[in-house]
């Protein structure tokens, strides 16, 4: 019983660090206007470089980081070797990708920004988020019948 309690506490502590990273990430989202419907419209109308600069530089920093981690065999803070699962190709990346693109342009948000938008006080976005959860559920329901 005593051990179990300690284990649970450990887990809660383990997860708090992700809450903090998420919060910093959310602040960047708001302050860089990534969560702005207007910025997404500018991006898809090729009217501004802003979003391309953000995604491009994020990918570049991510690439260099992953390369460094692999090159120097860097471990996690708990000493585990770092593992990244490869992505397997299936046609879902084409069909699903196009469908998500439609939704992204309409709502002006990907899944992450939906959470941040609600935080900024746009309470109606909870409806968009619940619809996204419903869409995810419907995909799970139809999965076996969809081309992959």
């Amino acid at each position: 019983m005593g051990y179990k309690k300690i284990d649970l506490e450990n887990k809660a502590y383990q997860n708090v660090k992700y809450l903090i990273v998420g919060m910093l990430f959310g602040i960047i989202f708001v302050k860089s206007e990534v969560i702005s419907w207007f910025r997404i419209q500018e991006m898809f109308r090729l009217q501004s470089f802003h979003m391309y600069g953000i995604i491009g530089s994020a990918v570049l920093v991510g690439m260099i980081s992953v390369w460094l981690i692999k090159r120097f065999n860097i471990k996690t803070i708990d000493g585990e070797p770092i593992h990244i699962s490869p992505k397997k190709f299936n046609k879902g990346q084409i069909y699903g990708g196009l469908i998500f693109g439609f939704g992204w342009a309409i709502t002006g948000a990907c899944p992450g920004p939906l959470f941040a938008q609600i935080g900024t006080g746009a309470t109606v976005v909870t409806v968009t988020l619940l619809s996204a959860i419903a869409g995810t559920w419907f995909y799970g329901y139809l999965r076996e019948r969809l081309p992959h």
């Binding site: 708090v16 770092i82 329901y141």
Partner: protein
């Protein structure tokens, strides 16, 4: 300092910081950056309905739910303490177009003129929020990831399926924003 932080942050500050989320999550606990999976975990936790896709131990993925809860908190801080006191700056060409759709309020990052509780019960509002959200959830799961999982994490790890997905996100967005959305906004 606070005044400076309240201004919108330029892409060359925000982009690299977003990119650093990739090594931060890997180093903190061997987690691959991804956000849309959280929607799947919510389904698995709340309405699994015996669907095989939702039969897994979602509690093991709890970190992802903490991460998105953090994003929501970040939204509160970013708009509250660090909120930009000025109207949002938008490209004049876009502003000119948006006037035709009755969008003139630039006080929030989410356009209040079209996304509010009253408009939810109109055809236009329903399409923009309910249907749009549905496409986001369905599409990201079908594609196996969103902008974070594919475009940032996948490309960082040089995964070509993620490049395919990212290109398709962009094609879908270009088609919708330029060819279809204008008609929805005219409703």
């Amino acid at each position: 300092m606070l005044e400076l932080l309240k201004q919108p942050w330029p892409w060359y500050i925000a982009g690299p910081l977003i990119g650093l989320t990739v090594p931060a999550l890997l180093l903190l606990g061997n987690k691959s950056f991804g956000i849309s999976s959280s929607l799947r975990h919510i389904c698995a936790a709340c309405v699994p309905a015996k669907i095989p896709f939702f039969q897994y131990n979602w509690k093991k993925e709890m970190w992802n739910l903490f991460f998105v809860a953090g994003i929501l908190l970040g939204g509160i801080v970013g708009a509250g303490i660090l909120g930009n006191p000025n109207a949002i700056v938008v490209t004049p060409a876009l502003m000119e177009e948006l006037v035709d759709y009755g969008i003139t309020n630039y006080n929030n990052l989410v356009p209040e003129d079209i996304m509010n509780w009253q408009s939810l019960f109109t055809v236009k509002g329903f399409l923009l929020m309910a249907v749009g959200g549905f496409l986001v959830g369905f599409g990201t799961r079908y594609a196996g990831g969103c902008t974070s999982g594919h475009a940032i994490m996948g490309l960082s790890n040089l995964q070509w399926p993620s490049l395919v997905a990212t290109i398709c996100f962009m094609i879908g967005g270009f088609i919708m924003a330029n060819l279809i959305l204008p008609y929805i906004l005219l409703l």
